[in-house]
């Protein structure tokens, strides 16, 4: 009897344990596991949105790729209204693309690697066209981020300064999806070579051009086949693949994404929310997505909230056109009426170049008083400090084409392209050859892309000095040989990664 009851007790006890003992998994409800999250069309698109959204960051197109690079080059002059971009404008050591640019760019690339990894496995409920389009978008974005990182932290293949330098290679290039912490910690990638970086970028763009042919998501705020071709054209120029640059530019030009504008249309293009020339632009759709009164592009370039009433003080106007730019367009301040204290009584004298009308005088309530400002970004999205940011405009393709033709030895065609472009901007033709022709093409590029973040890299890819002596004093010359041409790699990354060498001089 006793024995029986002991056995019975143990039996029930054992049963009890089996009933209660259970799986210890607990799922979070406000976040989702990495292992399963991307396996749905809606989540996959949301994951891509995050990467698009990173382009909006202060460290990327939100400001630095546009304004900081122009401050480094000879496009802008810092006003010291808020103190921002002054050190960068003076090319002070370490005043360069910041650690955040590196961090944000690589975070985007690793997010894309996770997306590409999922696409390879398939997405539940998505058809092949969708998967192809997403892969195209992801590859376009990966190419864009890699390209932006490599052009900031490394020399550009067309002009590599090498004298006596150990490592001036490319940048680390993580291309594999990393989900596990221990692997991430061990993943101490060295620099790839420049050639490896560029061939990866070109490969991604080539894939994107094909994959994006049937993309349902609309350009220019999402990647398109045409945008990939346009970016490829720019990348090929940087890489010295002149033929590839030419054919990609032609492909981009023949697409229906973006229009070529001239005359008044060109001006109104800069006043519309979505720039008609945009082949790819970063969308700022909500006030919460704007960088606001301190660091948005509008605030950086202008002290005004609107050009119709210059007396309302807006942003900081931290970076204004340099005297070189003022000179392009014959800009000087002009008082229209009285009293002089009324900002609306002021405008500028300007030449016949249609682009001269993108400049006017601003508000006088900041430290540097009334200055001539660029008004490309002026809150066009219906709220203050909200401007979509064109990354590639179709006009660039004309200039890319001229430049590529020049290098292919087809100077006449190059000259024709240049003069055709000039006529779109309301200025007369030139007749030049050889180096003078190339210089003129690059000058036109300078004029066209003032405050669009091209100039610093155009100087860099031709090995040219940054010369601001005309307005910042006799020391304001950064030779191409100077280490300040390259940005410092974040110190943390160099310290933690035994395979990574810091750039020279830092």
């Amino acid at each position: 009897m006793e024995r029986y009851s002991i056995l019975r007790g143990l039996f029930f006890f054992a049963i009890g344990i089996f009933v209660f003992s259970c799986d210890l998994e607990v799922d979070p409800r406000q976040t989702t596991r990495t292992s399963e999250v991307l396996n749905s069309p809606a989540n996959l698109e949301s994951a891509l949105n995050s990467v698009y959204g990173r382009l909006r960051s202060l460290n990327h197109y939100g400001r630095d790729m546009i304004a900081l690079s122009d401050a480094l080059a000879d496009v802008g002059r810092a006003t010291n209204n808020s103190g921002r971009l002054v050190a960068e404008n003076n090319n002070a050591v370490n005043a360069h693309f910041s650690a955040g640019f590196w961090q944000n760019g690589y975070a985007a690339i690793t997010e894309l690697n996770l997306i590409l990894d999922q696409l390879e496995k398939g997405v539940n409920g998505a058809n092949e066209d969708q998967i192809a389009a997403w892969e195209g978008e992801a590859k376009f974005l990966r190419a864009l981020y890699l390209f932006d990182l490599v052009k900031v932290y490394s020399y550009i293949p067309t002009a590599v300064f090498q004298s006596g330098i150990v490592d001036q290679g490319g940048i680390p290039m993580p291309l594999i999806a990393v989900k596990i912490a221990d692997i991430a910690q061990l993943n101490q990638l060295p620099r790839s070579t420049l050639a490896q970086n560029y061939s990866q970028i070109i490969r991604d763009l080539g894939d994107a051009i094909n994959l994006l042919e049937n993309n349902q998501r609309s350009a220019p705020q999402y990647a398109s086949s045409a945008a990939a071709a346009a970016l490829l054209s720019r990348v090929a120029l940087y890489n010295g693949n002149w033929q590839a640059a030419l054919s990609a530019a032609n492909a981009a030009l023949s697409s229906d994404v973006g229009q070529l504008l001239s005359g008044e249309n060109y001006l109104s293009g800069w006043k519309s929310s979505v720039h008609p020339e945009s082949m790819f632009e970063v969308r700022i759709q909500l006030p919460s997505e704007s960088l606001g009164v301190n660091t948005s592009l509008q605030s950086t370039f202008s002290t005004m909230l609107q050009v119709t009433n210059k007396n309302i003080r807006g942003g900081w106007g931290d970076l204004i056109p340099s005297p070189i730019v003022l000179n392009f367009f014959g800009l000087s301040a002009l008082q229209l009426g009285n009293p002089a204290t009324d900002n609306n009584n002021w405008d500028v004298r300007r030449n016949q170049d249609i682009r001269a009308r993108l400049y006017t005088t601003g508000n006088d309530q900041r430290f540097s008083r009334r200055q001539i400002e660029c008004i490309k970004f002026l809150g066009k999205n219906g709220f203050d400090y909200g401007d979509n940011i064109p990354v590639i405009r179709k006009s660039e393709m004309l200039l890319n084409k001229a430049e590529a033709l020049y290098h292919l030895g087809r100077e006449t065609e190059a000259l024709n392209e240049l003069n055709a472009f000039k006529s779109l901007r309301g200025i007369g033709p030139v007749s030049l050859t050889r180096q003078l022709l190339l210089d003129e093409i690059l000058l036109e590029r300078f004029k066209e892309f003032v405050f669009e973040g091209q100039r610093f890299f155009d100087l860099k890819r031709y090995g040219r000095n940054i010369d601001k002596r005309s307005y910042l004093g006799s020391n304001a010359l950064v030779d191409f040989e100077d280490f300040r041409i390259l940005a410092p790699i974040p110190q943390r990354e160099v310290q933690l990664n035994r395979n990574l060498n810091q750039n020279r001089g830092y």
Partner: protein, 1029 residues
């Protein structure tokens, strides 16, 4: 699953063990209610027979009874006889109530001692074999604290307890044997009647201590388990020690009704000695003079907001006269006041052979130094135990509590609207009220709000509704095989609101601001054990096996709105504009199985071995389960012949133990790779990865070696114990950096090591027992040395936080969920330059510098006191009883945010200053002091100094000795009571925290956290009465 297969194999093995005769071994301890001391020589007789035994020197008894159910009669001279019915329970501690016949008692004591020596065949008793301290609930009875954790301060060696602030029912910081973790939490495990309790506050607006759900007077006993060998049975969380609470239960016998009430008041311990209006003016004027500023008088008046418009027509002398005749108002006494405290309890208990019951209700209210901060609680409690047939007993315990805490603008932080911040920083020339009695709103100085107005108009409340309890099945499967199953619930719901009135500066701009929050914690657990005991000759073997499962879910909702339409209604009205709205959800599960074997030979040699296997959902998939084995050895030397022969030593036991215990307090979901909200784009939502999969994240393990010695002398006048321990934290979790090229910053990994070593000492003495006079003392002392033993990658200093360094203490985190702060790592302050009055520090080469850099930092100890303890004295004269209890702490180094603001002496902000600081300030060349000269303009040499509070200048020693409790009680004589139908009556007067010996310059050395704007600990007086029918 694997472990459960092996577990069931063990079960099968066990089932082959032969069955034994039907007899029961019951055991327990007999105490006197008079002084909570064990009674030796109490007789324990099986009712209706002559079978029985006597309790030993420690009040312990063991009796073998060949019956299924029986009643034992406990009697002792001078005490009322108690009858206890035994159904399924095999252990029973009994408290005998004294009769008031002191003289007779003394005689009997001697008799009993004689009797003790005659005992030939000592019964086998389960010996103490680990580092554990048990105290009966009576010791902490009627101490007017809101939660039992605070009452343990200074009472238990190895357990450091500190109130985080003076908020009644606020957070209490309890650390058993030091700080053993940086990232994984340091909270002890609280077990109330077998239910593991969640002790995290979760309140957004104040500190709401979850342990306040239990009226401390409902506690029968508190047991603190310290070494890993003792806590191993609790496996998870056991790493930080375990505090086991047993609540009062019904006892057999006639119904007993108890009424307990006390009332009193809370009083601020200290008012700071602040400058008055003219003094502040003079101080500030001189500061401007020292800075060679023009118009120092006008500038000082301007700082105070009282510069007349025509000031430039007045001479410096006239301005001076104005400043030196400014009025002074006592803002501190306006804000810090006495408050009420009262407590009422009623309980009924009793039972018969099959049913035991205990029901009670209580109400408690306590204010604080800073009204309206208060605490109001009502509790209902029921405990029911029912025997069914012969072998089964069912038991249920239910505790319901409702708590309301009033919340001012803020209970912490340097907010000008925070009463405890502004009361001392506001400049005192500002009137509190206008002449018509309305609040003055023109306040000069940076603390530019009328804090009395802010406090009056704002409102807020945190309400806690908690329900907890258990259902227990005891099933005697065979005479020596018991099953116990427990299902428990710990439920808590917090509802909070906070209102910024539009009439206050913070509510004005937005026309009122309303914050509302709701948070609920649901915890369910179950625990099943099988327990087998066998006596063979002189040895006792017992074995047990068990399983435990726990699941917890927490969810919260909070929102904030502005634009409140009807301010006079103040609370909970929806605002017109929703500012924010947020939800949270988290949860986790744990399960564990344990097995143990206990063997005692001839009461001399003890051997206890066991292990627990635990899994927690918080860890990575590869290492979810941890194994925590333990071994305990004991040698009772007192039972050896040579010591028995000496006749002097009654107790001498050596204990040694080794064990592992685990810690999973890392927060939920830390091992999961997850996607969370990311950037929105072009009208679409965004998600992004926020963490890596961390499958190798595993238990942080504490390995404790404990050596202990218990001693007692035959005279019974001295007893005590000493424990030496080494508690090593292995697999210490630290944040490991990840390259940005791999996306995230860092992740948690088990890499480092930490060590706590210490000694604990406790001694209890009977100093005198003569006639009507007796005097008992108990003293305890703990020393704990805490240090980091390793980080990762051979690093000596953690790059994330250089305050964590190898060889240095790791500091004590103030609240659950915070990281251990590390040691102080700052430049050493060298006082002021006697020639110039500028502050100086030592640089790395011990040279003096005005501008120390990061490289000049050195380590300065931590906020955890290495030395602490308590000293209790009970003196009885006839029916009077005097208890005095001191606690002490030594060696903690703290930085007190509130004092730091005052120490600036108005140089950075126009805040008030302390006499103590201002009087010490450097004035003339040659002055040797630590307070720099008063300076007003941040230019010249002054600008080339570090801030005067920089480095170790702001570190304070938080040493103190405190008279934590003094109590004078009178017990009425039983003859008198019987005439009026009472069985017991006691009246008493009590004071709490009456006297603090400390040279601490701030409000109070007892606080946790930054110290800024915190409600300081208060003192209190109360009188009370206890009646039993």
């Amino acid at each position: 699953m694997k472990i459960f297969l092996s577990l069931s194999t063990c079960l099968l093995l066990l089932s082959t063990i032969p069955v034994f005769a039907q007899s029961r071994i019951v055991r327990g301890q007999v105490f006197s209610k008079k002084d909570n001391q064990p009674i030796s020589g109490a007789s324990i007789i099986l009712k209706g027979t002559t079978v029985g035994t006597a309790s030993d020197l420690y009040g312990r008894y063991v009796l073998q009874v060949n019956l299924d159910e029986f009643t034992l009669v406990y009697s002792y001279i001078g005490h009322q006889t108690e009858e206890v019915f035994f159904g399924v329970e095999n252990t029973m501690d009994v408290y005998l109530s004294p009769l008031q016949e002191a003289i007779e008692e003394e005689v009997e004591v001697e008799k009993v001692l004689a009797k003790e020596e005659e005992v030939e065949d000592p019964e086998i008793i389960l010996q103490k074999d680990g580092a554990r301290t048990k105290s009966p609930g009576d010791l902490i009875e009627n101490i007017p604290y809101q939660s039992f954790d605070r009452t343990l301060q200074g009472r238990v060696p190895g357990l450091s307890v500190k109130a985080a602030s003076g908020i009644p029912g606020g957070a209490i910081n309890a650390r058993i044997r030091g700080v053993g973790s940086i990232y994984a939490g340091n909270e002890p495990l609280y077990v109330v009647d077998g239910v593991l309790i969640n002790n995290v506050s979760y309140s957004i607006f104040t500190q709401s201590n979850p342990l306040a759900f239990l009226n401390p007077n409902e506690i029968e006993s508190v047991e603190v388990l310290k070494d890993a060998a003792s806590t191993a049975i609790y496996g998870n969380q056991g790493a930080n020690g375990v505090i086991i609470i047993t609540t009062r239960k019904g006892k057999p016998g006639k119904a007993r009704i108890e009424l307990n009430a006390y009332a009193g008041e809370t009083i601020p311990i200290k008012f700071l000695d602040l400058l008055d209006g003219p003094e502040w003016y003079a101080m500030r004027r001189d500061a401007f003079k020292n800075s060679d500023a023009t118009n120092p008088e006008a500038r000082a008046l301007s700082n105070m907001g009282v510069l007349p418009d025509n000031w430039n027509q007045l001479s410096p002398a006239q301005l001076d006269e104005l400043g030196l005749n400014l009025p002074t108002y006592d803002w501190q006494r306006q804000m810090m006041r006495k408050s009420m405290m009262h407590n009422y309890e009623l309980s009924a208990s009793g039972g018969g052979k099959t049913t035991l019951y205990y029901i009670s209700g209580s109400y408690h209210y306590s204010g604080s130094s800073f009204p309206p901060v208060d605490f109001e609680r009502g509790t209902l409690r029921a405990s029911l135990s029912q025997s069914i047939k012969e072998r089964v007993r069912l038991e249920a315990n239910v505790n319901l509590a409702s708590i309301d805490q009033a919340v001012p603008f803020s209970t912490e932080g340097s907010f000008i609207g925070s009463p405890a911040f502004a009361a001392s920083t506001i400049l005192r020339h500002n009137p509190i009220f206008n002449e018509d009695g309305s609040f003055n709103t023109q306040i000069g100085g940076l603390a530019g709000q009328n804090i009395a107005l802010v406090n009056e108009f704002n409102s807020g409340q945190t309400s806690t509704r908690s329900g907890g309890g258990n259902f227990i099945v005891n099933w005697k499967i065979a005479s020596n095989l018991n099953y116990k199953g427990l299902a428990g619930v710990d439920y808590r719901d917090l509802e909070e609101f906070r209102f910024r009135d539009p009439r206050t500066p913070d509510g004005q701009e937005v026309n009122g601001r309303n914050g509302v929050g709701n948070y609920s914690v649901k915890r369910y657990m179950t625990n099943h054990t099988l327990d087998w005991t066998k006596k063979i000759d002189k040895s006792l073997i017992s074995a047990y096996i068990g399983y435990e499962f726990l699941t917890e879910e927490r969810e919260g909702l909070s929102s904030e709105a502005t634009g409140i339409t009807t301010p006079s209604f103040n609370n909970l009205l929806p605002g017109s504009t929703l500012v924010s709205s947020d939800t949270v959800w988290a949860g986790y599960k744990r399960q564990g199985a344990f097995i143990g074997l206990n063997y005692q030979l001839a009461e001399k040699y003890l051997f206890h071995l066991g292990s627990r296997v635990d899994g927690s959902s918080r860890f990575g998939s590869n290492f979810r389960y941890g194994i925590f084995p333990f071994v305990k050895l004991g040698w009772n030397l007192a039972k050896e012949d040579f010591l028995i022969a000496s006749g002097k030593v009654s107790d001498l036991r050596l204990r040694a133990s080794w064990g592992l215990a685990g810690n999973d307090q890392i927060g939920d979901f830390r091992a999961l790779g997850m996607y969370g909200p990311g950037n929105t784009y072009a009208g679409g939502t965004g998600i992004r990865p926020i963490s890596f999969d961390n499958p190798n994240l595993r238990w942080e393990t504490n390995e404790t070696i404990n050596l202990g010695l218990d001693f007692g002398f035959i005279t019974g006048k001295i007893s005590g114990s000493i424990d030496v321990f080494q508690r090593k934290t292995k697999d210490l979790i630290l944040n490991i950096p990840v390259l940005w090229i791999n996306r995230a910053d860092q992740f948690l990994r088990n890499v480092g090591g930490l060590e706590n070593r210490g000694i604990e000492f406790e001694i209890n003495t009977i100093n005198m027992e003569r006639g009507i006079f007796s005097w008992y003392s108990s003293f305890n002392f703990s020393y704990i040395q805490n240090k980091v033993t390793s980080l990762y990658d051979g690093l000596q200093v953690d790059p994330d936080n250089p305050r964590w360094a190898v060889g240095m203490p790791v500091g004590n985190p103030a609240f659950p969920g915070q990281l251990a702060p590390g040691s102080w790592y700052v430049a050493e302050y060298a006082g002021v330059n006697p020639a110039t009055g500028r502050p100086m520090w030592y640089d790395a080469n011990r040279n003096l510098t005005y501008l120390p850099t990061d490289a000049d930092r050195v380590y300065f100890g931590s906020n955890f006191p290495p030395y602490f303890g308590g000293f209790n004295n009970v003196i009885k004269i006839k029916s009077f009883e005097l208890t005095t209890f001191f606690t002490y702490e030594y060696g903690a180094v703290v930085s007190d945010g509130q004092y730091n603001f005052l120490r600036e002496n108005g140089t950075r902000f126009t805040f008030n200053s302390l006499h103590e600081v201002n009087d010490r300030a450097w004035r003339v060349p040659g002055d040797m002091t630590d307070i720099p000269r008063n300076f007003a303009l941040n230019s010249g040499n002054a600008a080339r100094n570090q801030n005067r509070n920089f480095g170790s200048a702001s570190l304070l020693k938080a040493d103190f000795i405190r008279l934590a409790q003094v109590n004078i009680a009178y017990n009425f004589s039983s003859e008198f009571l019987q005439n009026i139908g009472l069985s017991q009556a006691r009246i008493y007067a009590q004071g709490i925290n009456l006297w603090t010996i400390s040279d601490y310059p701030g409000y109070d050395p007892e606080f946790m956290g930054v110290g800024t704007g915190q409600i300081p600990v208060h003192k209190s007086y109360n009188i009370g009465i206890q009646l039993s029918f």
